[in-house]
Symmetry: C2
Subunit: 253 residues, 2 copies
DNA sequence: ATGGGGCCTCACGTGACGTCAGGCGCAACC
DNA sequence: GGTTGCGCCTGACGTCACGTGAGGCCCCAT
């Protein structure tokens, strides 16, 4: 009960050439060949092909797929769980994009123009691989980065919930301080900056005052960070930077 | 308020090279250049970029994206509606894939093995563009195909509901006939075959007895059609083929 | 025995970038 | 006021995942 290239290509919705290619690079070598050299795909081959197509659709390059599938100490159930998680993540991202498009439609039909930044953030912030790759490029190699990465990887859902709640409260307080007209070098703002520093230290990496100051600079110099902050309140990025600097003078040295 | 390549690449989560590429092929030419030849992206450019990235993620090739976006008599709201529809379609497909993975997990943890066909159907049947491309390859150029395509394109939701209901009822009746042991060349089965032929004629293209016979052959020779039929009841594909042949002799000539 | 459809192996083409190489622009730092 | 560094520029070649023939077996059906 083995199938020919044509039959498999029909079943899987791919071309014969693709199957040839996968054979060439050793990703999917048919279990048998007829005496005439015809490829014959067994049931096991088909299962592997389905896995390949799934990971391919998730955006993995073929050589990585080979590594993933040929890992000997990973059984099929684990593969399925991985796939499931990646798929749901992708689905969530898609839902956000859809929501963004809906917002844009609403805005458009009301005659409001969204800022381009607001619309591009979707791509800048949510594409998981791309974003991580970019982070790697900017921060790769630094100690803070690797520490942060190790910690974050071990977080449970509950941890994440706590983390984001804490971050949200902090942002809210900062917005309130800004809108309340409190000076960035006042005690309240400095306290908030200190809370911010401790937040980073607790959840991501040990952040001393100097590092904190670098972060503050980044908030105003990197347009992505600036946009994220200023989305909550205009001028927030600069306000936070100032508060951080003031707090650094107070507590640092 | 224009941005440099680096700033745009950061915002959009893409590389500088990609922006250069889009400039080279004329997909996204920055609105301005400084005297030194530096690219400067305006707000309009960013909006266009966002549209490009959306269509790109939907799998469109870049030249097609250019055609879509440069279509003069399509305003932004229409674009958004198109995007929204395509995205929701993609989301639905993703949900089906997720559901399939969940089924596979359940089956696996219960120790049941799914047939490879069952798993590959997902890719064979639901990838919209690929599938259509394959249909084009197999049937492109035939008159029946173009006719079917024209008609199907004009169907409303209500039409589709009626169509699928009719098809489901027909399938059910065929399954009942098969399971009831009625001979495929008996009057009842032939009547059902005739109903099938009229169903095709009504909804897709004028289907005479000869064409109907070809279709019957296809049901048993093309594993995809066979699988679709036999999923309802084992042996259904062959049963339908026989009934069609018998009906052809009765009514055809 | 003779097509015709499916399959084979080269082998070059293509789309969407990645990746240097070599060099200008400009603000900062010494 | 050089020079260092970073960002930007233009070629130009490399890469990945195939697409697209060309030329030639295989095999079943007429």
């Amino acid at each position: 009960m083995s199938l020919s290239v044509g039959q498999v290509s029909g079943l899987a919705g791919i071309t014969v050439r693709t199957l040839h290619h996968y054979d060439e690079i050793g990703l999917l070598i048919p279990g048998e060949r007829t005496s005439a050299g015809y490829r014959r795909y067994t049931d096991g081959d088909l299962i592997r092909l389905q896995q390949i197509l799934l990971y391919r659709e998730l955006g993995f390059p073929l050589d990585e797929i080979a590594v993933i599938l040929d890992d000997p100490h990973v059984d099929e159930l684990t593969q399925l769980r991985r796939q499931h998680e990646l798929l749901t993540r992708k689905s969530e991202r898609l839902r956000e994009v859809i929501a963004a498009v809906e917002r844009a439609m609403q805005a458009r039909s009301l005659g409001i123009a969204l800022t381009p930044q607001e619309r591009l953030e979707l791509f800048g912030d949510f594409q998981p691989e791309d974003h991580e790759a970019e982070v790697e490029r900017r921060w790769g190699g630094t100690e803070a980065y690797t520490q942060s990465r190790r910690r974050v990887a071990s977080y449970t859902k509950a941890d994440w919930a706590e983390l984001t709640a804490e971050a949200a409260a902090l942002t809210e307080a900062l917005v309130a301080a800004l809108k309340g007209g409190l000076p960035p070098d006042g005690a309240e703002a400095m306290d908030l900056a200190e809370r911010h520093r401790l937040h980073i230290s607790r959840w991501f990496y040990t952040c001393d005052h100097e590092h904190h100051r670098c972060l503050g600079e980044l908030y105003v110099s990197d347009p992505r960070f600036t946009a994220t902050h200023d989305a909550h309140a205009p001028g927030l990025a600069r306000y936070v930077r100032s508060a951080i600097v003031a707090n650094g003078f107070r507590g640092g040295r």
